[in-house]
């Protein structure tokens, strides 16, 4: 199980990766961790929010469902959903195959002056420690 150190994590097993800042704010890409996809098993449906939806930290923004169970996905940051990964509709298994890359779920644009909206989340070492302890 890998935990890339280029991004931040939640204790609910989401990752958040700052994509860059533009006029509208900072874009944060969100997905679920390798540990989360492995625990779920084969993912068969992914339910994502509508673009434009306002979300707060800890708000449910979607569901990832496997043959065995379903798991809510929570927003790690406050902002506006600015993109969703439409490719997952036809290929939900991408979340299993590439959870940190092509298996991303949504992008959330956080208003502000360009500060890192993920700074308060867990770093890779802290998340890995959390997984190891579970």
């Amino acid at each position: 199980m890998t935990t890339p150190d280029d991004r931040r994590y939640t204790d609910q097993h989401e990752w958040a990766l700052v994509q860059g800042s533009g006029g509208a704010g900072t874009v944060v890409r969100v997905g679920i961790t390798d540990h989360a996809q492995d625990a779920l098993g084969d993912i068969v449906f992914v339910q994502l929010p509508a673009v434009g939806e306002e979300v707060g930290p800890g708000n449910p923004i979607g569901e990832v469902e496997s043959t065995k169970s379903v798991s809510d996905v929570y927003s790690p940051v406050a902002g506006t959903v600015s993109a969703v990964n439409e490719a997952l509709t036809d290929a939900p298994e991408t979340v299993n195959a590439d959870p940190y890359g092509d298996g991303w779920l949504v992008e959330i644009t956080v208003a502000g002056d360009g500060g890192d909206p993920t700074a308060d989340l867990l770093d890779a070492a802290a998340y890995q420690a959390l997984v190891d302890a579970s």
Binding site: G41, D42, E65
Partner: protein, 369 residues
Amino acid sequence: MTARTSPLHDRHVAAGAKLADFGGWSMPIEYAGGGVLAEHAAVREAVGLFDVSHLGTGTVRGPGAAALVDACLSNDLSRIGPGKAQYTLCCVPDGEPDAGGVVDDLIVYLHGDDDVLLVPNAANAQEVLARLADAAPPGVTVTDRHEEVAVLAVQGPRSAAVLSAAGLAADLSYMAFAGGEGQEVTVCRTGYTGEHGYELLVAADRAGELWDRLLAAGAGEGIRPCGLGARDTLRTEMGYPLHGHELSRSITPNQARSGWAVGWRKPAFWGREALLAEREAGPARLLWGLRAPGRGIPRPGMAVLDDGGARVGEVTSGTFSPTLRTGIALALLDTAAQPAEGAALAVDVRGRPQPVEVVKPPFVPSHVR
């Protein structure tokens, strides 16, 4: 309580299996490099090897052993002869609370009038055996052999080729078995997947060797170790009941459409009076299949709703059908709501009504015979 483990536990761990508790036993759900979808496909298209040693084993032996089983369990043992196995139910006896409810469903292997082997479910094995022991006449002995016997299943269209290559009896008619006392392996043409397949009983200390032999024999046939996750999607596609879901102390065989496993003409079996009365009156609810074409899979315990939003039943099992690529479920629907094949209902999936179609299982064609 520590979970009990199969004699094959070390092999599962070495194969990177994810383990989960099944009736007090820690058993593989899926294997590394596999997963439910790949393991399911192996069974439908080639062959899969399962460890189902959580299933109990018990023997009933002595003069009148078969007569005891026939007088207690639901199915008519006189329908089969020695060398055949039969699916049957252990119902709650009349006079007890929940009379006619189901303590367990199980397979009986008829070796002879004085020798019957039982394969009940993990969690219920002790109760089934205890009830039979209480009812046994002098000279008939009921023995729990759960720890002594491992149970493997070889399932799929290539299963006969695998057994032949492993030097085991493959040419058996449906529900026939070969082997018994003094034989290394008892092979029975049965299973829980809807495919041509076998279940193998083997002494626990020989199970590892047999497992390895079957995997080697099946290498050219595309065999894969399969976990209980795939076993559940396979059985759900067939509409087979799972005790605790479609059958239980509060769900009778009449309601679960398991009346075919009841010897209605027998003078005695546990729960006979209660079941005959319910059959006469008509059960208040019946088991149906539901196809869920949308997103969101019906799961056990979810409410089934009519088009006005009124509750008309409850999902007992629900999963993703790897074959149909859609959600499927088994549900007990109230007879009063007059459900019929093709009816459009909904399942309350976490607050969102998901449209479902009422169907008669199996969801995919059976190939067991």
